[in-house]
């Protein structure tokens, strides 16, 4: 008996979908919190539909055939959405390997007598599905990388707020590592804000900087010098003891920069140089 694998698969489309969905639902790591059963069904049907209708005797051997462009597109779409939804690589992998499992199960059921054909068909399906898995992973990782890139951008945007703590005093808490690109953003934001508010003191708080090496120190010195050129004074505050140690061990000269241990003492210093005074209100007890 001669088997036509593509025809067979087309005829048994419903069975494949059912098998695959059963496979997916019985998977231990099913993420019901991320995706509903209807969605799984819809995605699976769409993919199987596109796969079997594009499959024929010629292209079953040729993974790179243009006929599969539609399948790959659907697959990439699913993969990217899953990456964004926060699926793990294993879960995304299980999704596509589940289809392979379903196809092989079906072939085993249908081609019982002819071992040779079964072997051939299994090999072909394996090859095809493996290539689809690679595509899935590629797009999955690409999707993840996009997420990471977007988050990096967001972090740079968020992490450089310039706060106006007092009339004429700006504070800039730096959180995270200072690299050249960030220093540039920090410097530009700070200088722009100095011009806009006419502030004469800027406090650079580095309590959120995990480590200071000579490069970071160089960036800090640059920012301080630029602030000075603008005609404002720059105080570095929030220097942790470990950072003080590193700075001295590295032989970085911060002697011509005003440094304070805490933001509070930097603020106190600023008040002093602006000739401001913070006082406790004298509570006068009413005498009855």
């Amino acid at each position: 008996m001669e088997y036509n694998i593509p025809k067979l698969l087309q005829k048994k489309k419903k069975n494949i979908i059912e098998l695959w969905i059963t496979n997916q639902l019985s998977e231990a790591g099913l993420r019901e919190d991320l995706i509903s059963n209807e969605e799984i069904r819809q995605q699976s049907e769409e993919l199987v539909d596109s796969f079997v209708s594009n499959l024929n005797q010629e292209n079953i051997e040729d993974v790179n055939s243009g006929d599969f462009d539609g399948v790959i597109e659907i697959l990439s779409g699913i993969s990217i959405t899953r990456a964004r939804q926060g699926f793990s690589p294993r879960e995304t992998g299980a999704f596509i390997f589940g289809l392979k499992e379903a196809l092989l199960q079906l072939l085993q059921q249908e081609i019982k007598e002819d071992k040779e054909t079964l072997y051939q068909a299994t090999l072909q399906i394996n090859r095809l599905l493996d290539s689809f898995s690679i595509v899935t992973f590629e797009t999955f990782i690409k999707g993840r990388e996009e997420v990471i890139l977007r988050q990096t951008d967001e972090i740079t945007e968020i992490s450089t707020p310039v706060i106006r703590v007092w009339d004429g005093i700006l504070a800039l808490p730096i959180i995270g590592t200072l690299d050249s690109a960030r220093t540039q953003v920090v410097m530009e934001n700070l200088l722009q804000e100095i011009v806009e508010t006419g502030s004469s003191i800027a406090i650079l708080d580095i309590s959120g900087v995990p480590a200071v090496d000579s490069l970071v120190a160089q960036h800090l010195i640059k920012t301080v010098s630029a602030t000075r050129l603008m005609g404002a004074e720059c105080i570095i505050s929030g220097i942790r003891p470990e950072i003080a140690q590193t700075i001295v061990h590295l032989g970085i000269d911060l002697s011509n920069i005003i440094t304070k241990a805490t933001l509070a003492s930097a603020l106190k210093f600023s008040f002093q140089s602006l000739k401001l005074e913070v006082k406790k209100v004298q509570v006068v007890k009413a005498v009855v």
Partner: protein, 134 residues
């Protein structure tokens, strides 16, 4: 050739640069300014560069030079109103203008200059007072 006006304001000289500086203009400003400091025995020089949007290393050096020369002639130099972009450029060029005082605007610059030289003025006043009492 155009010239940058140097205005005398009490014991200070006021220079506002309203055009983009080119090298020869900067050099002639340097020469004129030093002459003026000598002539008027100014105690301070205030240079307003708020309209300058482009600087290069030469310009940075000129500012440094002017400050150094005025210092020798016993006058303090304050550069005011530097644009953020200009400040970043100078820092990236490695010219932190160490000898120059800076201020945000002319008003603050004037205050700074006054505070720098008021010791002298006060001592003059003291002398006057002494004369008066005697």
């Amino acid at each position: 050739m155009e010239k940058i006006p140097i205005l005398k304001m009490g014991p200070f000289l006021l220079v506002t640069i309203q055009v983009d500086l080119y090298d020869r203009l900067a050099l002639s400003l340097e020469a004129d300014l030093v002459q003026m400091v000598k002539k008027t025995a100014a105690k301070g020089v205030l240079i307003d560069i708020s309209a300058v949007s482009i600087v290069d290393s030469f310009m940075g050096r000129i500012f440094g030079n002017i400050a150094g020369m005025c210092k020798i002639l016993d006058a303090e130099t304050v550069v005011v109103g530097m644009q953020p972009a200009v400040a970043i450029t100078l820092i990236e060029l490695g010219l932190p203008l160490t000898g120059v005082h800076t201020a945000l605007d002319v008003e603050k610059g004037m205050k700074l200059l006054t505070s720098k030289v008021d010791i002298d003025i006060e001592s003059d006043d003291d002398l006057d007072d002494d004369h008066n009492t005697i």
